[in-house]
């Protein structure tokens, strides 16, 4: 079993919920990212989603858009993001890293070359936001050949018919985007999430992670109660913005915040 599936199945056998954290590679500076990845793990994160900066992050709200802009101000590329993952892997070989981003930089490198370099960098999964399963027929087998698990998204508007397509294409887990808007938008409707979970559980046995709208211990707890894990993104990225000029405060505030989430979901 590959690392992402293994980690999630181990958590499930221990009756634990997964805590997934999203950061953008190179935000606010390239030097921040690798120490931050270790901080996340130390504070209790199970899976890291590493965002690849892109000039046009179409599906993101303002908080994460700005993170992409901060990273791009340092010209952080897809290959730079992979180099950060590689450096992290020197001392941590077990925490899964899911690379999250947009298709264009990958098209530029070429699917095969990308998969090869991502595997070498210790990447375990991908979430390519603007690559739905309908368009991923060429990408998926290439990723699989390199031991990388593609994760696809479910949305509140996803029909049962499409949910089947999405779950069939997904490996590791499926990612339920719990809000109709962009990342960081409004508040979480937990009853709605619970209703969707019971629908999706009939369609697939894959673990379901819920993201978009998790901003504190209470919302993480609420999500973990109905799903297999919670993804936290904008709330961490906000700390990058707040402490962009203070690397020590940045690391310590993230540590404290993630610990609070961990405690809430355990």
């Amino acid at each position: 079993m590959v690392q992402l599936s293994k980690t999630l199945s181990d958590l499930a056998s221990d009756n634990k919920k997964a805590l997934v954290a999203y950061i953008v590679a190179g935000d606010p500076t390239p030097g921040t990212t690798v120490p931050l990845m270790h901080t996340l793990v130390d504070a209790g994160v199970d899976v890291i989603e590493l965002g690849m900066p892109f000039s046009d992050p179409e599906a993101e709200g303002p908080v994460i858009q700005l993170a992409h802009e901060r990273a791009l101000a340092h010209h952080v590329s897809l290959r730079d993001s992979l180099a950060m993952a590689s450096e992290f892997r020197q001392t941590n070989q077990t925490t899964p890293i899911v690379l999250m981003g947009y298709l264009n930089p990958i098209e530029f490198i070429g699917y095969e070359q990308f998969a090869k370099e991502a595997e070498a960098a210790g990447i375990n999964g991908t979430i390519i936001v603007n690559l739905p399963p309908e368009e991923s027929g060429e990408m998926d087998p290439i990723l699989e050949a390199h031991g990388i698990e593609p994760v696809y998204l479910l949305a509140p508007t996803t029909t049962d018919e499409r949910a089947e397509i999405v779950c069939r294409a997904s490996r590791g887990f499926v990612y339920y985007v719990s809000l109709k808007g962009t990342t960081g938008a409004s508040t979480l409707d937990i009853d709605d999430v619970a209703e969707k979970m019971s629908r999706f559980r009939k369609i697939s046995t894959l673990p379901i992670m819920v993201g978009f709208g998790v901003k504190d211990g209470a919302s993480a707890r609420a999500v973990a109660d109905v799903a297999d894990g919670a993804v936290v993104g904008s709330a961490i990225v906000k700390l990058m913005e707040q402490y962009r000029d203070d690397p020590d405060m940045l690391q310590s505030s993230v540590k404290q915040f993630v610990r609070e989430l961990r405690a809430a979901i355990d």
Partner: protein, 412 residues
Amino acid sequence: MTNNSGAEAGINESLFAYPDERGHFGVFGGKFVSETLMAALQNLEAEYNRLRKDDAFQEELKRDLSEYVGRASPLYYAERLTQEAGGARIFLKREDLNHTGAHKINNCIGQALLAKYMGKPRVIAETGAGQHGVASATVAARFGLECQVYMGSEDIKRQSLNVYRMKLLGAQVVPVTSGSKTLKDALNEAMRDWVTNVDNTHYIIGTVAGPHPYPMLVRDFQSVIGEETKRQFEAQHGGLPDAIVACVGGGSNAMGIFYPFLEDRSVRLIGVEAAGLGLETGRHAAPLSEGSIGVLHGNRTYLMSDEDGQIIETHSVSAGLDYPGVGPEHSFLKDVDRAEYVAIDDNEALEAFRLLNRVEGILPALESSHAVAYGVKLAGQMSADQSIVINLSGRGDKDIPTVARIDGISIE
């Protein structure tokens, strides 16, 4: 992706067979969007496929194009421009005479009617120079729809006249401050709005780009240009023109005039991109001439990206051509060799802008001036018994301050 493009796909099949049911033109096009948008696109696709065959819808569209937009627009034999070029006869398709002064309204009327038939009381649009924003605000006023227009904050500064016009039309202009603060960012922001408000909102994309079904439906609404041209040319001159020339930003006016001629293989179809300060400078907006294949705004197409795959900023004196991508059907027509794509720089376009004023008494938009510049060049290389049609996609009143500034004159 494999790089065999659409080349072998198009050879034995009618070019009218595209896009396929997945929205692909060969390897181009498609639906490269986040899951949050998929349901909205599928719904739009289903509704459009129903309404395109609905008599009431088509009747209403026809009536509005005639009585509100003022169609058909004339096909005009430009005698003095022909003399000036010294070769093929030059005809101008006068989209500049449409209500609101450009071809953009053809698509906006169609999409506003879609919104009405789908029961959506609100429309949103993105705009660069403000032309599509004005056209969207206009049709929203005409149909009593709420309208919000997303516009880059940089563009808002440069286009205060159109911003004010949209407000007069009752639309709300929303400044976009992310990214390069221009058209591509406005498009991103409009998509984000649509994701959030899809229940009551239709997104009027202004060009033949974006995810399927937009490239198809915008093309269909703009095809009225080519259908009229075909009829008018036959009536006025007989037969088919030898070449059709149109400017290409996203490419909606070009797609509209090209489309009915796709299977008339004797007709050369030539799209003119903006070479800006010159293709060699890198400061241009010519993805078909100089770009590479990538994915942006929901479709695979030729794009202007840097070596890391980041979208780069474009340059053109004409704001309407200042876009780093191009409609996927143009990418397809290029790769199957059905259309040719060339580029005209800022100076050549400005010269053509002045020339058309001087010899024909017509004030062209700077976008359309790119087509005029290449058309005159091309006509000069052809013989007097040949004919070309230039799509004069819009009028140039909006560009007078820009040109005056270049001439050192400040107009308030």
